[in-house]
C-alpha cells in the first residue's frame, strides 16, 4: 500500500517506450527489452495506461537493480521513469 512516487520535472530521457493500451504483462516485458537499448545511467521513459504498472515497474526496478525515479500523470496516461543501473 505504498504511496505514489512523483518523478522530478524536466528529466533528460534517452528513450521513450509507448506502452499505452497494453495490459499486464506486456508493459513490463517491453520495458525489460527496451532498457537493453540504453546505456547505464541513462533514463527510459515508459508511457502506460495499465494501473498495474504502478506496482510492477517499481517492483521490477528494485529486483533488477535499476533506479525507479517515479511517475508523472499526463493527459490520459502515465509517464514512468527508470534510470538504468
Amino acid at each position: 500500500m505504498s504511496d505514489i512516487k512523483v518523478a522530478p520535472e524536466g528529466l533528460e530521457v534517452a528513450r521513450t517506450l509507448d506502452a499505452k493500451g497494453l495490459s499486464c504483462p506486456m508493459p513490463l516485458l517491453r520495458t525489460k527489452k527496451e532498457i537493453e537499448k540504453i546505456n547505464s545511467g541513462e533514463i527510459l521513459e515508459i508511457l502506460g495506461t495499465d494501473p498495474g504498472s504502478r506496482n510492477d515497474i517499481p517492483g521490477w526496478c528494485a529486483r533488477a537493480g535499476h533506479e525507479y525515479l517515479g511517475e508523472r500523470e499526463d493527459d490520459g496516461f502515465i509517464r514512468f521513469y527508470v534510470k538504468k543501473k
Binding site: 500500500m1 505504498s2 504511496d3 509507448d18 506502452a19 499505452k20 493500451g21 497494453l22 495490459s23 499486464c24 504483462p25 506486456m26 513490463l28 516485458l29 517491453r30 525489460k32 527489452k33 495506461t49 495499465d50 494501473p51 498495474g52 504502478r54 506496482n55 517492483g59 521490477w60 529486483r63 533488477a64 490520459g76 496516461f77
Partner: protein, 449 residues
C-alpha cells in the same frame, strides 16, 4: 483544529478503502473468506459459468443455438459474473483506475486466440482457474490439482511464446488509446453502482421464488470478490507467471495461502453440515421411512394429508440439500488427462489474454477493451465445447461422472478422509510457497528472455 484532523482521517480511510492497492496477503485472505461465505450461501463461485451463459446468448442470438439459454438475471453463474464485474467496476471508478483502454491491433488478435484457448481449456478441465483449480482444490476435489499442474506448463510455454513474439512480431504492437473521464464523475458513477447493487439484491430478496430470492447474496458476495480482486490486483495467472518471469512470488504465496484457508473452510462446511442436513442424512432418516407409508390405506384423512405433506417436504429437503453443499456437485470427472490438457490450454490462453478467468472479468470492470474482446470468444468456444461434450458424454453421466473419458471423479475425502485430504492440501501449498520463495532468491526457475 480537531475537525481538520478528523476530516484528514476520513480522507485517509477513503484512500485506504478505495484508492491504494491492497496488499496481496490481505486480498488473498479476504477472497478466501468471501469464497467460503458464498459456498455457505449455497454454491462456490466461478467465472466460466457466467462467461458460458453469455456465450450461449450470443450463439442463440445469431441463430446457431436453437434452445433459449437461461436468463442472465436468473442463471446463478451469470449473476456471479454480473456481481463480480460490477464490484470490479465500482472499485475501478472509486480508485480512478477506470478508463476505456484500447490496445494496439495485435493485442486484439491475441485476445481472440486467447478467448478460444481459454474456452476450450476450461471445457476439458471442468472449469477455469477458479472453478477448475482454486475452488476445486478448495472443494477438496482431486481434479483441481491436475489443472494446477497443467496451468504451470501452459503459463511457462505462453511466456516463451511472448518472448518469441516480442522478437518477431512488429505489426500492430503500438498505438494504443485511452479514453479517460474526470475523477469526480467516476466517483459519482461508482456510488450509483453501489446503490444499483443494493437495489438489485433487495429486488432478488423480495422474489417469491426461493431460488431467485437466494440470488441476492450471490450478487453481493460476488461483488465483494470483484471489488477485492480489482483493488488488490489479485491475479492468479500472475501468480503462476511471475515466478518464471521476474521471480516475484508475492502473488503465488498469496494464492497458496488463500487456497489453504478456503480448503479449511470448505472442509468445515462439508464435514459438519452433511451431519445435520445433507441429502444423505435427510434420505436415510426421513425418506426411507415416509416412502414406506401408503397414504391410500390410511382411513384418517387428516393424518393422510399430513403424511402427504411430510413426504413432499422430505423430497424437497433432499433436492435442496443436494443443491447446497453435497460435495459431489462440485467435483468434476476430470482428474486425469482432461484437467492437465485443459489447464495447459487455459494457461496458454491466459498468457495471450493477460488475465485468467477471474482476472479477465475484473479487468473488464476496469475498462480494458482487450479483455472485453476475450470474453465473447471465451464464452462462445466454451458453450460449443460444453454442448458437444454433453452430447457425447465426454465427462460421463450423472453427478458422479460415470464413464468420463477425461479422467476420474474423485472427492479426496472419500478416498483419504478429511484429515489426510487437508494434510495433502496444506503440504502442496507449503511446497509451492517454499519453491517460489526459494526461486525468488535463486532465480533457478526463471525463463530468460
Amino acid at each position: 483544529m480537531s475537525e481538520g484532523l478528523f476530516s484528514q482521517k476520513v480522507k485517509n480511510f477513503f484512500k485506504l478503502l478505495c484508492q491504494t492497492e491492497w496488499n496481496a496477503t490481505a486480498s488473498g485472505l479476504i477472497i478466501a473468506i468471501l469464497s467460503i461465505l458464498i459456498m455457505a450461501w449455497w454454491r462456490p463461485w466461478g467465472a466460466v459459468g457466467a462467461i458460458r451463459n453469455w456465450g450461449e446468448w450470443i450463439l442463440y442470438g445469431i441463430g446457431i443455438f436453437g434452445q433459449k439459454p437461461s436468463s442472465v438475471l436468473i442463471s446463478s453463474g451469470s449473476v456471479i459474473g454480473i456481481g463480480f464485474v460490477a464490484g470490479a467496476f465500482i472499485s475501478a471508478c472509486l480508485g480512478n483506475d477506470f478508463s476505456f483502454k484500447f490496445p494496439p491491433p495485435w493485442e486484439l488478435v491475441k485476445a481472440i486466440i486467447a478467448g478460444i484457448l481459454m474456452g476450450v481449456g476450461s471445457a476439458f478441465a471442468g472449469g477455469c482457474n477458479v472453478g477448475g483449480m482454486y475452488n476445486a482444490i478448495g472443494n477438496l476435489a482431486a481434479n483441481g490439482f491436475t489443472m494446477w499442474l497443467g496451468l504451470i506448463i501452459g503459463v511457462v510455454l505462453g511466456l516463451k511464446y511472448i518472448y518469441w513474439e516480442m522478437e518477431h512480431v512488429t505489426w500492430g504492437t503500438s498505438g494504443g488509446k485511452n479514453f479517460d473521464f474526470p475523477y469526480g464523475l467516476k466517483i459519482v458513477i461508482g456510488l450509483v453502482g453501489i446503490a444499483a447493487l443494493i437495489w438489485g439484491a433487495y429486488k432478488y430478496a423480495g422474489m417469491s421464488d426461493d431460488y431467485a430470492a437466494s440470488l441476492s447474496g450471490i450478487l453481493l458476495i460476488s461483488a465483494g470478490l470483484g471489488y477485492t480482486m480489482q483493488r488488490g490486483r489479485w491475479c492468479m495467472v500472475q501468480a503462476f507467471r511471475e515466478p518464471h518471469m521476474t521471480g516475484d512470488c508475492t502473488l503465488a504465496k498469496s494464492v497458496a495461502l488463500s487456497i489453504l484457508v478456503l480448503a479449511v473452510g470448505a472442509a468445515v462446511l462439508k464435514y459438519a453440515v452433511p451431519q445435520r442436513g445433507s441429502s444423505v442424512a435427510v434420505k436415510s432418516v426421513l425418506m426411507d421411512v415416509v416412502e414406506d407409508i401408503d397414504t391410500d390405506e390410511i382411513q384418517d384423512e387428516e393424518l393422510a394429508d399430513t403424511l402427504d405433506d411430510l413426504t413432499d417436504a422430505a423430497e424437497q429437503a433432499v433436492v435442496s440439500a443436494r443443491r447446497v453443499l453435497d460435495p459431489v456437485n462440485y467435483v468434476r470427472g476430470t482428474f486425469g488427462w482432461g484437467a492437465i490438457l485443459g489447464g495447459f490450454l487455459f494457461g496458454l490462453g491466459a498468457m495471450f489474454a493477460g488475465g485468467c478467468g477471474s482476472g479477465t472479468l475484473w479487468r473488464v470492470g476496469e475498462g480494458q477493451m482487450k479483455l472485453w474482446l476475450v470474453v465473447p470468444f471465451f464464452g462462445i468456444s466454451n458453450a460449443i465445447m460444453t454442448k458437444w461434450f454433453r452430447a457425447i458424454h465426454m465427462e460421463g453421466t450423472g453427478p458422479m461422472h460415470e464413464g468420463s473419458k477425461l479422467g476420474i471423479h474423485l472427492y479426496l475425502p472419500d478416498a483419504l478422509g478429511y484429515g489426510w485430504t487437508l494434510a495433502i492440501v496444506a503440504l502442496a501449498m507449503a511446497l509451492w510457497y517454499i519453491i517460489v520463495d526459494w526461486n525468488e532468491d535463486s532465480n533457478k526457475l526463471i525463463v530468460e528472455m
